[in-house]
Symmetry: C2
Subunit: 359 residues, 2 copies
Amino acid sequence: MTQTKYQKIADELREKILAGDYPVDTTIPPELQLQKDYAVSRHTVRQAIALLVNEGYLRREKGSGTYVDDRYKQAVATHVEHKTIGVITTYLSDYIFPSIIRGIEKTLSTQGYSLLLASTNNDYQLEKDCLQKMIDYGVQGLIVEPTKSNQYNPNLASYVQLKEQGIPMVMINAAYEELATPYIRVDDVQSGFLATEYLIHHKHRHLLFLTKIDDLQGKYRMKGFIEACEKYNLQFSPEAILTYTTETRKTVILQAARQLKNDPSITGIICYNDQIANALMTELITEGYQIPQNLSIIGNDDSALSKTGIVKLTTLSHPKEKMGIDAANWIIQTITTQKPQDNIIYEPQLVERDSVRPN
Amino acid sequence: MTQTKYQKIADELREKILAGDYPVDTTIPPELQLQKDYAVSRHTVRQAIALLVNEGYLRREKGSGTYVDDRYKQAVATHVEHKTIGVITTYLSDYIFPSIIRGIEKTLSTQGYSLLLASTNNDYQLEKDCLQKMIDYGVQGLIVEPTKSNQYNPNLASYVQLKEQGIPMVMINAAYEELATPYIRVDDVQSGFLATEYLIHHKHRHLLFLTKIDDLQGKYRMKGFIEACEKYNLQFSPEAILTYTTETRKTVILQAARQLKNDPSITGIICYNDQIANALMTELITEGYQIPQNLSIIGNDDSALSKTGIVKLTTLSHPKEKMGIDAANWIIQTITTQKPQDNIIYEPQLVERDSVRPN
DNA sequence: TTCAATTTGTTCGTATGTATC
DNA sequence: GGATACATACGAACAAATTGA
């Protein structure tokens, strides 16, 4: 109601343009004419036109006239909010990641979102680059699998920047303990516990625990191992826990084989995941061990790898695709409601196959 | 040199803002002051300010003053060309696709490009949506695995639009014959030929060929099958070729089993790919067939599936990750040189495993 | 709370310059 | 060249919002 004259004139002209009264690339009446039509000063007419020029409806040509333009369409087009979610994982094509990504993609695309994908190869520098790219891009949300979650992460600044810009983020599989970020993950303490308990129930008293220590999953699974040992009054020596990192995952296999030779009383091995379990099993079989007859192995994540080896691995479940679906829905919900959803923790289940000697 | 007064004033003010003389969120001198400073009319001052407001350097507040703003930075930021490549595949997490995508992602990210990912689930409508999203997004290039490449594609209009907008595109695995688009693919005629020839060399005279017919790979592989039969003077009945589509891939297994019962002379089966070969093999083994003792099967694509079954599949090689790397480099090269690169055709090789009876 | 000074916003009027057709 | 149309520039008045005494 408190409309000014020039706004009113601009509105009327805009209406006429949109209605098609003034087609694109034709002139509108000259300033003098409009001045008379609306009974205002020339300056007012010019202000109205300036507004429409700015909005992209008109284009002035000195000496010629004021033409109808359609730049406003472009302006609208580029202003369309690209509904894009960034996804950063450590790896892409290996192991359980394709399933997770599939779940994310499926869910996002049915809700009209796009997926911007990057992987860090478990390398800090790459993680930083990925994050920066995502921020620059203007993604509406981020799903991140943290790189080396158990080590001090030099990219915390980038994560803080995300938070400050109000870009929702959820972490999957693990979460940096230094940051209070929402997460969606498996209860890894429980999975370590269940694996250990299962072996104990299968009469194993001397165990070897092989875990990755640069991410939190490995640390939590180890915690579960220790809890189970305590509950069942199992004593274990420091040598019973072998740790490795992304960089040393190849040598740890030989280390484990040596440890088995040194201590023949060991009859059960709990592995960080199916990948290392599979690699270890292959090595041990070539060295003459019989699995599960004289050695039991248990993996984790119920990946395709647990079914490909010579002996099918007993392992623990991982939601995989469901985790992807949940993560995508979490982000979409958080974007639409503007408040972070609850964390999700999955309880792992034992998947019995052939790598543990039956009772 | 033909600078107007208001432009000159605007330039000076902009300089001072950029130099830090007027920090962000502080006021610049009021109009009256500037009027005196520059010895011009208020109107001229206002024009200069209007210009800078438009550019995002200033922000006016009625009754308060004109403040320095930094919206111009955003304008620059959103104008940064996001180097993004769109990737559309039929499937994401299955089969050989994770490896292809990994190759693409790895290559793109080292060259500073981002990857926008979508999958069509081999569905036209989804393909259309994906394409439109990519176009709207303003990707710099596209890598597409065509959906149902052997059928008339209702989305050709979208592909033509891409071409008109000068967005480089390369197709992988197959290419729509109606469109003269560049492609990177395996020589599928040759792979069909090699598979057939291999069985013939292994004394198989009665063959069954099981192929997917909604994409071109299936058609080409069938062509290779026919060529091999002709070369070695093998007669085959129309029943020797069983075709299926994405929708009928489950029933075709039973169809093939029936066909084997009807014609016990068949001793060799050539499958479209490892996926169908694996499914068929599992079914036939449960029905009592012995592979390779009384039945030989050959797959295609050298996927992980060829190594997971009870019997390891003899198959044909597929570049997978290398295809992804090549596709990414193709697109980057085409973007930088502004002219489409050459097509790439890979020659498949036989990968001998255990599913064909040795001579 | 009120009020006056300050500052930007709107609108009028007028004159001259310059590009296009 | 002349008519037309937009561009620049000056001057003046009042309105509306903000700020601080």
